[in-house]
Subunit: 455 residues, 2 copies
């Protein structure tokens, strides 16, 4: 341990190391606080690529595990420390190095906050679409590590779609450049994409070239109330089948609506069983909303209310954004599933989740990026009650089993971390898992990078 600190200090400024256990303990875990986490030996906050290389060379020399971290807003424990590890926080490498409107790219360090980048590019008429709920806090490096999604994905896709090239420090401290800064490129295997969603297990991202888009027009939102989740899902299917391209298509079930009302008194319709929010950022959003409103009515909506303007639209989205927080207030803790199914199976997923809630006697509220088929069943439980905690975990697992059965995936956008390791193996099967481990072995033969995550 003394050896580790001495060697780290040899290549890092004094203020880049934290060893006070009270402080290092605060770096122990991400937002999945109920996942196991160890005590880091040291927290390192490098400011340069060379400093990151020094950390990795030291870790390799001394065989010390390294846990890379961004803002620790992840929901799967992927950034949780292991005992005696180096926590490598990239939050101080937070410079936007370049924004080009002609090339439609930004070049950034990993610690740049998503919202900071979004605002910086907006000033130049550009947009960086990926918008995870934590966008005001989370870092681009964390977004890349966890392959974050967000509300915009139904039209604009996920983080992976916007990462063109990377600079990566490998486990042994060598620097590798992947990808490109061009619009297209197919030179060799796509290592860039391999790093997106790899949860820091293959290397440390120290620079990223990101694709940008022109700023879209402001979106207008419509809210539709349904007597059942199934009817709302039917509306989603009709909307997508008819070729619409909403910029957002979100669903809140009755449990979620009532939790949001209880918390924020937003006056959402208490008796409705599902609220669908659809938005368009097209040249004529009102016309698109009118067409979608008709499809909602045909699917059984009892009320269809297009927002009059951008302000009213924002208010509706605020309710959606409050969903997780509101459900967290129901009991002392939550486990958030992230099952994504083909949207044709969305109704089966929601009905099945309701049955699971009833079976286990738990409150499970569902909000969903319905246009993507990506559901977030939120299992509410009291951590102080062992039996309720056990039932929570069992229902959490049963929801993933249901997702796989419906042709879905255990994680649409939150990642695997430590929370879903067993389930990753089930989803991939033995051959896929063997190949994934082979790739890990290629990049990190000593197994030092974020050990115990993914598989």
């Amino acid at each position: 341990m003394d050896d580790l600190l001495a060697q780290l200090r040899a290549g890092l400024p004094a203020d880049a190391l934290i060893t006070d256990p009270d402080v290092t303990a605060s770096y122990a875990h991400d937002m999945a606080s109920f996942c196991a986490a160890g005590a880091p030996a040291v927290v390192v906050l490098p400011r340069t690529v060379e400093q990151v290389q020094h950390v990795m060379r030291t870790a390799t020399a001394l065989r010390v595990p390294v846990v890379p971290q961004g803002a620790r807003t992840g929901l799967s424990g992927a950034a949780n420390a292991t005992d005696g590890c180096i926590v490598l926080s990239l939050t101080k490498m937070d410079r936007i190095l370049e924004i080009s409107a002609v090339d439609r790219i930004a070049v950034v360090e990993p610690g740049v906050i998503n919202a900071t980048l979004s605002r910086a590019v907006a000033e130049q008429g550009l947009s960086y679409p990926p918008d995870p709920s934590s966008w005001e806090m989370c870092t681009i490096g964390g977004n890349i590590g966890t392959a974050s999604g967000g509300l915009c994905c139904v039209k604009y896709g996920v983080t992976a779609e916007y990462v063109l090239g990377l600079d990566v420090v490998l486990a042994d401290g060598r620097l590798m450049t992947t990808g490109r800064r061009t619009a297209k490129g197919v030179a060799g295997y796509d290592l860039t994409r391999l790093f997106v969603g790899s949860e820091g297990s293959l290397g440390i991202v120290v620079k990223a070239v990101l694709a940008l888009r022109p700023s879209p027009p402001r979106q207008l939102v419509l809210a539709a109330e349904f007597p059942s989740a199934a009817a709302a899902c039917d509306a989603v299917c009709r909307i997508m089948e008819r070729g619409h391209t909403p910029s957002l298509l979100e669903l809140m079930d009755g449990t979620t609506i009532r939790a949001v009302n209880a918390m924020a008194h937003m006056g959402l319709p208490e008796t409705t069983e599902a609220l669908l929010l659809a938005a368009f950022d097209t040249p004529d959003p009102a016309a698109d909303l009118a067409a979608v409103g008709e499809l909602c009515a045909a699917a059984g909506a009892t009320e269809v209310v297009p927002a009059e303007d951008v302000a009213e639209s924002e208010l509706l989205l605020q309710a959606r954004r409050l969903s997780l927080t509101a459900l967290e207030a129901v009991r002392s803790a939550t486990m958030i599933d992230d099952v994504c199914v083909p949207r044709s199976r969305l109704a089966a997923m929601l009905d099945g989740t309701a049955a699971i809630a009833e079976k286990y006697g738990l409150t499970i509220g569902v909000c969903a990026h319905a246009g993507d088929g990506n559901t977030h069943p939120v299992v509410c439980f009291d951590q102080a009650d062992p039996d309720e905690s056990r039932r929570a975990r069992e229902s959490f697992d049963e929801i993933m089993a249901l997702g796989l059965e419906l042709g879905g995936t255990i994680t649409g956008e939150h990642g695997v971390g430590v929370l879903k390791k067993d389930w990753l193996a089930r989803e991939l099967g033995p051959v896929g898992l063997e190949m994934q481990r082979g790739i890990k072995q290629t990049f990190d033969p000593l197994g030092l990078l974020n050990p115990g995550k993914l598989f």
Copy 2:
């Protein structure tokens, strides 16, 4: 050899094997006919996944290399046979297994022709955007292997963006499923994307889940004439900088225009030095074309002609599609570069290419997916003239060196194959190359899959 045929026959119907050397010779190479190619021992045309597994198990047992092939329309020799290999042609596995408008996916076998799929999904109001020039012949499996682009990429991206999941037969005959059939998913490393563009070197794709989009409105095209390539490139930069989203933005240089005229008498403007074609498939394409026309004029266009209708638009695109064929008619052979640069460096790329043509005393016509910065300098030469052939290869290489110097890549969409192997190593650098080789080793430890390609 007898052993090989006997073992292959044990698991394949008689009509799935071709051993007649006159016939097998015709499977020796793709469209980069000047690249070295060996004589296959046998050509196998399986119809089922099990048959592909049998071929790979046999190849592994007997240590025989396997060269997977689609329609052999590739331009880099990636499908070229090696001496004594099994050519594994996937062209008989050509069923469209599923098309879903709600889930916006198609599930296909690898031998489905791109145009066949495009037409089948169009009947359901859907679109499969990737449109390589060879779309009437090339297969989806080949598109996946080479990560094909096309004219649509500036708005709709490349093949990689549309591959959600794969079934792959590994080198040892085991079957692996990657990815998903959902809109989103981040379960483990992105093996799907790793296979796209891997030129059959990691496994045999036997099924693919593809993302579809709603059919866009028919596009309208505008043609603009410029006194120099640089002025046309300036227009491209202005168009993209102003936030336009053309569905196509193509450039033909003076050499290409005159070659097309010589071949097809299309009445293109003989004296102009660059023709830019811009298209929009937006709700009001005429308005978008008007705005883009003004930007062209501001960049120095001498003539701006929006097509009156879809028919006129098609005529303009026909000229563009004839470019390669027309340049092939200039001398006996062509080598087609595929350098992609940041679009801000497009003018430097075109001017530099013209200087290289002059230096080597060769005709090099350039057509380009200008909106992507993806240029196709076509080096025309007489294969019977050794000195001219040498100069052609040198200029072909110098164009790639220029591309790298300008921050670009040696291949935007045609791949590496055997043609650009040395250059891939230069682009990736030693660390990147080592990691790529490590991945190859993981999937194909005996080095049987398409040996001698990529690196």
